[in-house]
Point group: C2
Chain length 209, copies 2
Amino acid sequence: MTRLSAELRRDRLIQAALTVIAREGVHGATTRAIVAEAGMSLASFHYVFPSRDRLIHDVIARVLRDQQQVSFESLETAGSPREAVRLGLDAYFELLSREPERELAMFELMHYAMRNPDFGRLPRVQHASYRATARELLEAGAAQVGFAWSRPVDEVARLLVVMVDGMTVAWLADRDDAAASLVMDFIADSLAAMTVPAMQTLSSTAVAR
Amino acid sequence: MTRLSAELRRDRLIQAALTVIAREGVHGATTRAIVAEAGMSLASFHYVFPSRDRLIHDVIARVLRDQQQVSFESLETAGSPREAVRLGLDAYFELLSREPERELAMFELMHYAMRNPDFGRLPRVQHASYRATARELLEAGAAQVGFAWSRPVDEVARLLVVMVDGMTVAWLADRDDAAASLVMDFIADSLAAMTVPAMQTLSSTAVAR
DNA sequence: GTCTATAACCGGATAGAC
DNA sequence: GTCTATCCGGTTATAGAC
């Protein structure tokens, strides 16, 4: 029909794939389902992607790129480290509750990548990207509220990702909001215990043990 | 060939399925691959299972049943709550390191069940089973080493499962043993902070806040 | 570049002989 | 009860017209 550039077509297919994967799972994201979602023909798919696996690969890469745009808004009203962490967790949980399939899809994509040797180090990169995002948030929170982390921030970021991932897995399985709230309280308490009041003249890294 | 009872045949197929799922993932566990692993014909499969999905369902149920047999041995030498938790975590990590695909398979099975409405509450049950096992270990550890949990043990169990799941996801993605060790130290410290010295005359539940 | 049509294959499930 | 042979729907990928 209308002539589209290969780049635009790739973008649309990746976006459509993400939608279908969230709705039907990686298994249900067949090339047919994806092109139907994108409103194009099956042949057009193979004009821009050599294979379905290559598309899945690029979907993961896209997710990693886009996820960097996290919101720092929720931190602005926090009065204490604990509150800053708790507000950030609330914002995440709100996202998780609104689109559970989206988060489930992230796990499915990671596991799919782990099973396919062609995906190489992508699972590793995906997890590193999560930690990098967590680190940014932790540093932004510290700057915003005025405190420093008493451990290397990379360590704190890893612990945060571990706990948030675990909480997500649990909530996806049992959909227990109250239990998730309990876990978030625990996370907030744990991270708050890793902070020290800010020193004006020293950078936060210099304060770390 | 040799005549087998339906029950025995079911057992063998479930066992074979578990092997194939660990090796190839849920996606790769086709009926053909499973019967090849079990050394029987495709028709035999459908003689005892109405469908592949029903087999997957039963595989999950089997896993839940068998997992109860956890080892309490590692706790015996512990001298403190923190050490007890750390030893338990070491034992788990040893298992994870030895058969990573097995743990990956557990996640895949849970996610597969989440995507299929026919599986009903099975994901919920699966997670509840993990927590129940964690609870048993926590109670055994307290009894063995001689301390009590200062929070409801169900809460502690949930936090433990959340952290262990998160650690597992992270390690499967990046295979970073040192980072996992750091996380296990954190878990041990966190749980140790939730203990109080045992009172001889009161049960541990009576001591909980 | 984009489409329709089809090749080539694979998977779950079944028929029917033994 | 157990097997071989087959059906049938669905999947990726490609051929070839426009």
